[in-house]
C-alpha cells in the first residue's frame, strides 16, 4: 500500500557510499542534478546513466528500492511528458484533430522523462545511503556561510530533519487509520473519482490531527531538554573529511567536466 514510498528513507548497509562524508554526497547529488540539466544530448545522458549505475552498484542498495520511489512521481512525469509531447512547436510527425505530435516534441518528452527518472533515482540514492540526521548535519555545515546573511540555517536544517523523520511515522499512522476505517466498512479503492476523494475524508482528518498531536509532543520534548536553536550548540559527532572524501570530490569534478564536454561542447 502506501508503505512503498521510499523517498527519504534510509537503507541500512555497509558500503563505500554509506561511509562517504554526507557533505560529499550532498554536493555530489547537486552536481549530478546540475549535470542532468547541462547535458543536452543522448551520449551525455548515457554518461550520466553509467555514472549513476556505478554509484548504485557501490551503494549495495537493491535497485528495486529506487524504483519503488519512482511510483510516487509517476503522475508528475506523465504530465511533463504529455505536455512536452503535444505543446512543443516544430515539424509534425502525427496529426489528429487539434493535436499534433512533433519530432521536437518527442525528443523533449524523452529527454524530460530520462532527466526526471535519473533525478529521482539520484536523489533517492542519497537519502537511501545517508541517515536523515547526517543529511541535515551536512546541509547545515554546507549552508553555514549563509549565516552571515542572517539566514536561519540551523533552524531550517532542524525543520528539514524533523520533516524527514516524520515521513515514516506518518506513513505508519496512515496505514493504521486506513485499516481502522476499512474495519468500519470504508472503501478507498472503488467508485468514481469524486467518491474516492470523499472517501479520503475519514483518513485525512484523523491524519492531520495525529500530525498536530505528534508535533505538539515533539515541541514539548524539545523544550523539556532546553532546546533553544543553534546558538552555541556543539555536535556530538562533528563532520570530518577523510582521504576518501577528497578522492570522491575529485571523481565528481571529473564527472562534471566530462558531462559538460560530452553533453554541451562536443557537437555530435
Amino acid at each position: 500500500m502506501l508503505r512503498d514510498i521510499t523517498l527519504g528513507q534510509y537503507y541500512q548497509a555497509d558500503s563505500l557510499l554509506h561511509r562517504l562524508d554526507c557533505r560529499v554526497k550532498l554536493v555530489g547529488t547537486l552536481l549530478f542534478i546540475i549535470s542532468l540539466f547541462v547535458v543536452d544530448n543522448f551520449p551525455g545522458y548515457a554518461l550520466a546513466a553509467v555514472f549513476l549505475a556505478v554509484c548504485i552498484r557501490l551503494s549495495k542498495v537493491p535497485f528495486r528500492f529506487m524504483v519503488k520511489g519512482m511510483k510516487a512521481i509517476v503522475f508528475l512525469m506523465l504530465f511533463a511528458v504529455v505536455f512536452n509531447l503535444f505543446l512543443t512547436p516544430g515539424t509534425p510527425v502525427v496529426e489528429f484533430w487539434k493535436l499534433k505530435i512533433t519530432r521536437e516534441g518527442i525528443e523533449m518528452a524523452v529527454k524530460m522523462a530520462v532527466r526526471l527518472t535519473m533525478l529521482i533515482i539520484g536523489s533517492s540514492l542519497m537519502t537511501l545511503t545517508t541517515t536523515p540526521n547526517l543529511l541535515t548535519d551536512g546541509l547545515e555545515s554546507l549552508l553555514n556561510p549563509l549565516k552571515k546573511l542572517k539566514v536561519p540555517v540551523h533552524e531550517v536544517a532542524m525543520m528539514m530533519s524533523i520533516a524527514l523523520r516524520f515521513i515514516p511515522i506518518l506513513l505508519e499512522e496512515t496505514d493504521k487509520i486506513m485499516k481502522a476505517q476499512i474495519a468500519r466498512g470504508a472503501d478507498f479503492e472503488s467508485g468514481s473519482l469524486i467518491r474516492r476523494a470523499k472517501a479520503m475524508v475519514p483518513l485525512l482528518v484523523p491524519l492531520f490531527i495525529a500530525a498536530f498531536r505528534r508535533a505538539n509532543d515533539l515541541a514539548m520534548a524539545m523544550e523539556a531538554r532546553c532546546y533553544r536553536g543553534g546558538e552555541g550548540r556543539t555536535k556530538m559527532k562533528p563532520l570530518v573529511y577523510g582521504k576518501r572524501d577528497f578522492v570522491a570530490y575529485g571523481v565528481l569534478a571529473s564527472y562534471l567536466a566530462a558531462a559538460v564536454v560530452i553533453g554541451r561542447v562536443l557537437p555530435i
Binding site: 528495486r64 493504521k176 481502522a180 476499512i182 474495519a183 468500519r184 472503501d187 482528518v205 484523523p206
Partner: protein, 286 residues
C-alpha cells in the same frame, strides 16, 4: 456460525533479507457467544492475529474460514465479513473524524448501505450499549475526555452490529478507573447482546475477571488455550514468556507454601477471598 483458523502463519517483510514470522501455525476457533481473552507480551503477534480475523491481512499460509467458507476465496464478500467481525484497534479514538459524536458512530452502518432510519437506530443502540450519555450526541468528538472518546470509537464499530467483537488493548493509556469502566461496559454489552468478544491484552489482571477462555500467545505461537483457572496454573511458564498471573494467584500460592489449605486455582478477587476466609476458619477451629 464461527470463525476458524487452521494452521495460519504470517510473515512480515517477505521482500527483505530477514522476513519475520509473526504468526506460526495458529489453530483457533471462535464460536458464538464466547468471551475470550487473547494475551501475549508485546511483539507476540496478538495484533497481527486480530488483523487476520476480519480479513485486513491475508495469511501467508493456512486457511481462515467464516461459517465454513474460506474468506480468501475469490468472491467472498470481505466487506460484509468486516461488519460481522468488528475490530476495534488500539487507541481507536485516533480514527474519529466527524463533526459530532452521532455522525461518527453512523459512519460504519452507513458504509453498509443501510437506510437512514436503520443507521440511526443502530448508532443510538451502540452508544447506549457503551453507556455514552445522550446529551453529548451532538458534541464534537475531539472535545471529549480520553475515556469518552474511546467509548464513541468502540460504539462506531458496535454500530455495525458484529457477531464477533475484537478489541485490541481497549484499556491502553486509560487510568485505572477508566479501565474498569470500559471493561465493565464490555462485559455488560457482551451479556446484553450475546455476541462473541475477543479481548486482547497484555495484562492478566484485566482479563481474569471477565473472560471464560484465555488464549496465550508467545513468539507467534499459541502457548495455552484453556479456561482461566487452568491457564493461571502455569505460573512458571507464563513468567518465562514475560507474562504474570493475577496478583491473587500469587497470594494464594504464597499462602499455600506457608501451610494454609487454599485452592490456588482461584482467579478472581471474590473467589480468592472466599478461599482465604475458608482457610482462616479451618485455622481457627484447630
Amino acid at each position: 456460525m464461527s470463525l476458524k483458523l487452521e494452521h495460519v502463519s504470517y510473515l512480515y517483510g517477505t521482500d527483505t533479507t530477514l522476513p519475520v514470522r509473526a504468526l506460526d501455525d495458529i489453530c483457533l476457533e471462535i464460536p458464538d457467544g464466547q468471551f475470550i481473552g487473547l494475551i501475549g507480551h508485546t511483539g507476540s503477534g496478538k495484533s497481527t492475529l486480530v488483523q487476520h480475523l476480519n480479513g485486513l491481512l491475508e495469511p501467508s499460509e493456512g486457511i481462515l474460514s467464516y461459517n465454513g467458507r474460506n474468506i480468501w476465496e475469490k468472491d467472498f464478500p470481505r466487506k460484509e465479513l468486516r461488519s460481522k467481525v468488528g475490530l476495534v484497534f488500539q487507541y481507536p479514538e485516533h480514527q474519529l473524524f466527524e463533526v459530532d459524536v452521532f455522525s461518527d458512530v453512523c459512519f460504519g452502518p452507513k458504509n453498509l448501505g443501510l437506510s437512514k432510519e436503520e443507521t440511526e437506530r443502530r448508532a443510538r443502540r451502540a452508544l447506549e450499549l457503551v453507556g455514552f450519555p445522550e446529551e453529548f450526541y451532538g458534541q464534537s468528538p475531539f472535545e471529549l475526555s480520553g475515556g469518552q472518546k474511546r467509548r464513541v470509537a468502540i460504539a462506531g464499530v458496535l454500530a455495525m452490529e458484529p457477531k464477533i467483537l475484537v478489541l485490541d488493548e481497549p484499556t491502553a493509556g486509560l487510568d485505572p478507573r477508566g479501565r474498569d469502566e470500559i471493561l465493565g461496559q464490555i462485559a455488560h454489552l457482551k451479556k446484553e447482546t450475546g455476541i462473541s468478544v475477543v479481548l486482547v491484552s497484555h495484562s492478566m489482571e484485566d482479563v481474569a475477571n471477565y473472560v471464560e477462555r484465555i488464549v496465550v500467545m508467545s513468539h507467534g505461537k499459541i502457548l495455552f488455550d484453556d479456561v482461566p483457572r487452568n491457564v493461571f496454573g502455569h505460573v512458571k511458564e507464563l513468567e518465562a514468556v514475560g507474562l504474570a498471573a493475577p496478583q491473587v494467584t500469587y497470594i494464594l500460592h504464597k499462602l499455600k507454601e506457608s501451610g494454609f489449605d487454599v485452592d490456588t486455582q482461584a482467579t478472581t478477587i471474590p473467589e480468592a477471598r472466599d478461599e482465604i476466609l475458608k482457610a482462616m476458619k479451618v485455622e481457627k477451629t484447630c
